[in-house]
């Protein structure tokens, strides 16, 4: 892979004082691909995305965008480079309407000088259209976001990132708090965003969500990279084992299998 990737991370490390949160992580992200970052709790996933989102800077290593070295000084800076992050707790205000949330911080305005006001009709129409593109028919964009389901909220956030010209979309645990059906909705959005030409970074601790949509998998464990694999290089079982540090989970799995609690099929991809 000699050509330059959209985003390339080389040997990224992050220390908090003497605590090593992230050590020597490398991967690449391409447009129209989904890169999954997998890891158990405390594996360094949050540190990894915060570095990419500009919340803090890496202690060592380089980030290259289209082959050029970049540093993200602030979330705004990362956003200006086209890196949009949809956090687990969602950057949304539940009591505000869908369209206000959609355009929050970047409202289209009319008027001139000090007398500018929000172009409500335009904002509502765009929000409705963009949501429709995501396959969600919003009844009324005046609805407070708090009335939407978890999956719909994720969809609003993803549609918003896409509309505001994101090239890289980082999704932090978008499915962790959702039920089976809602998770399916969100996974569908991820595929749609990818098909629209975005590079998606999908952070999860659930390999069964990651494997069906991912093109590339970066596995983290206790701050260390367990490797970055293309889809054809790895099976879902290997993925699961690597996530938990391999041997430990295998032992657990054998124990559970012996006890008859789970069958091997439980760990494979659902259709």
């Amino acid at each position: 892979m000699a050509e330059s990737h959209l985003l390339e991370l080389d040997d990224i490390s992050k220390y908090y004082g003497n605590i090593i949160a992230l050590k020597g992580v490398s991967t690449s992200v391409n447009a129209g691909e989904v890169t999954c970052v997998l890891g158990d709790n405390g594996a360094g996933k949050s540190t990894f995305i915060k570095t990419l989102a500009g919340v803090h800077q890496q202690s060592e290593g380089t980030i290259r965008m289209n082959g050029e070295e970049v540093t993200f000084d602030s979330p705004r800076d990362a956003l200006d480079h086209g890196i949009a992050t949809v956090y687990q707790d969602l950057a949304m205000v539940p009591l505000m309407s869908v369209w206000r949330n959609f355009f929050l911080g970047a409202e289209p305005t009319k008027g001139f000088g000090p007398f500018t006001w929000i172009d409500k009709a335009k904002a509502k129409q765009i929000a409705k259209d963009e949501m429709a593109k995501m396959g969600i028919d919003i009844r009324d964009t005046e609805q407070p976001v708090g009335t939407l389901s978890g999956g719909e909220r994720q969809s609003v956030a993803i549609a918003r990132a896409g509309y505001f010209g994101a090239k890289v979309l980082i999704l932090d645990e978008p499915t962790s708090a959702l039920g089976v059906k809602q998770s399916g909705v969100v996974l569908k959005r991820i595929v749609e965003a990818r098909n629209a030409g975005l590079a998606v970074i999908f952070i999860t601790h659930n390999p069964r969500h990651a494997y069906p949509v991912g093109n590339r998998f970066l596995i983290l464990n206790r701050g260390h990279s367990m490797g970055s694999f293309a889809k054809h290089e790895i099976s879902i079982d290997e993925l699961t084992q690597l996530m938990a540090g391999g041997a430990e989970l295998q032992a657990l799995e054998h124990e559970l299998e012996a006890a008859g609690t789970i069958s091997h099929d439980d760990l494979t991809t659902p259709d």
Binding site: L79, I118, D137, E142, T147
Partner: protein, 630 residues
Amino acid sequence: MSDTTATAAPPSDERLAYRGVFQRLFIRPEIGAMIGAVGIWVFFWAVSIPFGTANGASGILDTASILGIMAVAVSVLMVGGEFDLSSGANTGAMGMLVILLSKEAGEFGGAGLTLWVAVPLSLVVALGIGFFNGWMVERTKLPSFIVTLGTFFVLRGAKLGFSKLIVDQIQVGDIRDAHGYDFWYAIFASEWDRTTHQLEARDAIYTVAVLGGIALIVLALYEMQFERRRDAMKSAGMIEFAIGLGVTVAGIVTLHVTDDIAGNVLGAAIIAVGSLVGLHGYATWRFEPIHDRGSLVLAPDVLRLIGIGVGSLVLAYLAAIIWDSDNADNFFFPFTYQGFRATLMMVFGGAGFTVLAVAANRARRDGHLARSAIGLLMGLLTAVVAFVVRAQSESVKFRAEAFSVLLAIALMIVVWAVLGSLFEERIRTNARADKLGGRLIAGGLVMIAIGMFFKLMFTIQAEIDADIAPAKFSMRNFWFIVFTVVMVWVLGNTRFGSWTFAVGGNKEAARQVGVPAARTKTQLFMLVSGAAWLVGMLLAFRLNTIQANTGNGLEFDYIIAAVVGGTLLTGGYGTALGGAIGALIVAMGTLGIPFARWNSDWRFLFLGVILLLAVVANRSIRTRAESLRR
């Protein structure tokens, strides 16, 4: 990846129940405050003599304006998730500052500036104080309660200290001698004396505007309630509508020119027939008729409710008859007879009508006729109350005003009940009809406001002859209205408004999507101190001298007004208009208590009760705001 495309978002409309017109209107945050304001107005109107006169209204507006400018600003700040305890002391501080800046140096030790410099300069100082508050809150990340408590004490101490240091008194004056006084007096304190502005056409304008406004609102409710015709509009209904309108006007004229019971009954009957015909025509023209009306059989539980409701109303009648007196000196502790009677009537009457409304709602499942029958009963009972009041009351005020209002309410209930069994209620959303309804309501409210304006601002010869108490309206009323309108617009239509909701609702989320949270919050504090400057100017030019303790402690009144107006204590939800209405409620309590000849010390009890009710209501507001669309 075809395996993930199988799960599509389910159509969510089926999970969303349709809401009727009243349910839709009632989710606005200021509605609770509006109903409260009307209830409190009615109560004080019934128990006190000056309430409901132009003189009383000017007094209430005067108090409400000073309070309301601050309450509106504080509401906006609270929507942004912060408090400002220095806001009350700040008003007095700004009034004092402008006087000290403009005093001759020799006389009082002031700076001796012209008001052309002193007024803008004090605004700059005010904005500086607001900036400091915002900067401290943002820098220290401490709760604004603590930070502004500090600013409050600084201002309080500075006011007392500087006035003692410079003039050796606990008050400073006079601003009257300052250079440029006349111009700035005109801006901040000039008055409109009602007794010198005569307009004989006033009552005609008032009647037409208010009745027209009510008619528009009634039509709006119908537009929002009923299903549009599925086939073409039936223009024959328009003719019926026009005839009914003509008959109604004739009835109103009859009611207006007659003064005996028989004439009033005749007028009321003509109005009833006219409006029934008119609205039936309107509905025939636009709405889909019902084909299955259901049966008139009432279920036992509904009958029981009707019994309770009617029983409660009978008690209200008894109270109305037994304690009838026009003598305000007849005390029945702690109320006057009037007050005691009004309280009993409101409690029993309100309970009776609520129970009947519940019964009507339950009867709906048995069919349209059953529900309409109960509605008809409610309307007729209201009409009976109206005529009991008309015939029995010794009080002229009750006989004239309460009679016509009750009669109008009775009429609306009857017509609503009759048409409810003839035309189909809407059961799905219709954005176009709702938009039309919203515009009609807005138009109706504007017309009513115009009518009230003429009634309050002008006098007629008969009033001059009767030598009624004079009423004055000053620039503070004007600034209150202007400030409220501007803030309602800013909060709803600008980026700053959107960001205010965002930083109050979820500050971290707002920051993540690029809202300048610290700047927005600082601007909010500057808005409040700017409002405090405006109030300081209004006070200084009205009172001529400012006491060192002016405004101290009023910050809680502002917060009470904001909360009463439906603003969430936790931030993220509320309106500027709610703050203005909350200020009216607080002002009505403040003045209504002495008007009703009670000791004004009861004021705090009133405020406390109002606040407790509002805080309890606040919780349900939050739940509704989160679960319903606006």
